[in-house]
Symmetry: C2
Subunit: 143 residues, 2 copies
C-alpha cells in the first residue's frame, strides 16, 4: 500500500535545503510518489516598511529570478523535473496551503529551522501550516 501519492517539499534556499531534500527524495522513492519542489518568495513590500513610495517590482523580479535559478539547481541535483519545480510569491503558509490544495498533495515536508521550518509550521498566530492544512505534515529535524 502506498501511503502517499504526491508530496510537496517546501525549502528555503539555505544550507538546510539539502538535508530536507535528501529525506524528501528518499521518502518519495520508497513510496513511489511524485514530488513537488517548492520555494516561496516573500513579497519585497512585506520587508520594506518605509514611507517613501518606491518601485520595488524590479527588485522583486530579481529575487524571483534568483530563486528560480537556485531551485532549478536543486531540482537538477535531486532529479526533480522542471515541471515540478515551483517558485511562488506570497505569504509562505497560505501559498503552501494553496499549492497543496491545487496539486492535491497528501504530504507536506518542511525543515525544522528558519523562517520556512517549524516557525512556519506553527505560525505566528494560529495560521501556521500545521493548523490550516488538509494533509499530513512531516517536519525534518535539521542537525
Amino acid at each position: 500500500m502506498s501511503t502517499y501519492k504526491k508530496m510537496l517539499v517546501a525549502i528555503d534556499l539555505t544550507e538546510e535545503a539539502p538535508q530536507v531534500l535528501n529525506k524528501a527524495t528518499a521518502m518519495c522513492s520508497a513510496q513511489g510518489a511524485e514530488l513537488l519542489l517548492v520555494h516561496i518568495v516573500e513579497p519585497v513590500g512585506y520587508a520594506y516598511g518605509g514611507d517613501i513610495p518606491m518601485d520595488l517590482s524590479e527588485l522583486q523580479d530579481q529575487l524571483d529570478k534568483a530563486a528560480k535559478e537556485q531551485l532549478g539547481k536543486y531540482g537538477e541535483e535531486y532529479g526533480i523535473p522542471q515541471v515540478n519545480q515551483i517558485v511562488s510569491v506570497g505569504r509562505p503558509e497560505s501559498e503552501i496551503h494553496r499549492l497543496a490544495n491545487d496539486h492535491e498533495v497528501d504530504l507536506i515536508i518542511v525543515g525544522s529551522h528558519g523562517r520556512k521550518g517549524f516557525q512556519l509550521l506553527l505560525g505566528s498566530t494560529a495560521n501556521g501550516v500545521l493548523h490550516g492544512t488538509e494533509c499530513d505534515v512531516l517536519a525534518i529535524r535539521i542537525r
Copy 2:
C-alpha cells in the same frame, strides 16, 4: 535507501487511533522499519486537583491496565509484537521524548487531534514534542 529505521507512533485510545495506525504501519512496511506502539497515561494526580488527600494508586493501576489491554488489541490488529507495545505514565511530551531517545527512534508519528495530537506537538509552552525532539515528526491529519 531506507530513510527511517525505527518509528514511534504515539496514539490516544480514541477513534482517531486506527487512522494514525493505518498510515504508520503502511509507512513502516514501505520503509522496512521497526514500529513502537506507544500510549502515555497521564498520572491521575494531574487531573485531580482537590484538597482532600486520597489514595489514587488503585485508580491509576486500573487505568494503566485498561490502557495496556486496549493497546494490546491495537497491537494484535496491526501486527505489532508485544515487546514493541509500550504504555508509560507521565507527561506525554516528556515521555515521548524519553522513549524516542531510549529506543533510538528516528521518526515520531502522531495524530492531528486531541490531547496527544497537534496540541501535544506544539505544547502549551515551548515544550511540545516538536520543540524538544531530536528526530523527525510526522503529523497525521485526522479526518
